[in-house]
């Protein structure tokens, strides 16, 4: 994700405040957070909103480490690393979650392209790690089976 997209998204967010007052939360100061991309409920739309296109290329250079079966959908450990050069960002999408975009990692010249976190998954789904290098987006996808969903309550 580039800075331009972030600015564009945050401007759209500012506009949506007028249209949907119920969504107002006190996060004006952190306009960089791409609210629009996080709100989208469809994977393809989510991908285009992040990158401005949906041309993804499956690559073995993107390493996605996720469990095949997650007993507890509330804590699914996910690790993403890559041997690609000039990595701009890493994004993790969970196709069947209410909003597929789970998290984004914007790297700098200092960072190494290797991140890990724990996600909530409502049900069995494909998890896609997307790595932006140069103008291209490389992905790796794996299915994670969830026995107990993480969004109950």
């Amino acid at each position: 994700m580039n800075r331009r997209n972030f600015i564009k998204n945050s401007m759209l967010f500012a506009g949506s405040l007028v249209a949907a007052p119920s969504l107002i939360v006190s996060n004006k100061a952190y306009a960089a957070w791409p609210k629009k991309s996080f709100d989208i409920k469809d994977l393809t739309e989510s991908v285009s909103s992040v990158y401005g296109h949906s041309n993804l290329e499956e690559s073995s250079k993107v390493k996605l480490k996720a469990p095949e079966i997650a007993e507890n959908g509330a804590i699914v450990p996910i690790n993403v690393s890559t041997t690609l050069d000039n990595v701009d960002s890493i994004m993790i999408f969970v196709e069947n979650n209410p909003q597929p975009l789970s998290s984004g990692y914007k790297l700098t010249a200092l960072s190494e392209p290797s991140i890990g976190t724990r996600l909530k998954m409502g049900k069995t789904s494909n998890v896609m790690a997307a790595v932006k290098s140069g103008d291209k987006v490389y992905t790796s996808t794996q299915e994670v089976k969830v026995t107990i969903g993480g969004c109950g309550g």
Partner: protein
């Protein structure tokens, strides 16, 4: 007490950072079992890390990140680096912690 627990270790010029943040990470989709009302969304949106004042990584989280989130990342650095991690949630709360790389 800080909400952030952080560990960092240098090996061959690469620092591995591991952090645990204490936060409910409410999605806004769960209902209170007693009242049946929706629990308002409350989750960390942005995590930022700096080493010796230079940006290392900026992280954007949505509500799908687990409660009491765990985070790991790596950067090119050295022993003794002054490492800072800070977060901001959707309700405007924030916290930060500084440590020294071992």
């Amino acid at each position: 007490m800080s909400t952030i627990k952080m560990r960092s270790k240098e090996s061959n010029g690469v620092v591995t950072v591991k952090a645990l943040i204490k936060h409910p990470m409410e999605t806004g989709q769960r209902k209170d079992k007693k009242t049946g009302e929706l629990i308002p969304a409350h989750y960390i949106q942005e995590v930022h890390s700096k080493a010796n004042g230079k940006d290392v990584i900026t992280i954007y989280w949505g509500p799908a990140v687990s409660k009491n989130p765990y985070l790991t990342f790596k950067y090119k650095g050295n022993k003794g680096d002054n490492l800072e991690i800070s977060w901001v949630d959707n309700q405007g709360n924030r916290d930060s912690k500084t440590g020294t790389v071992k």
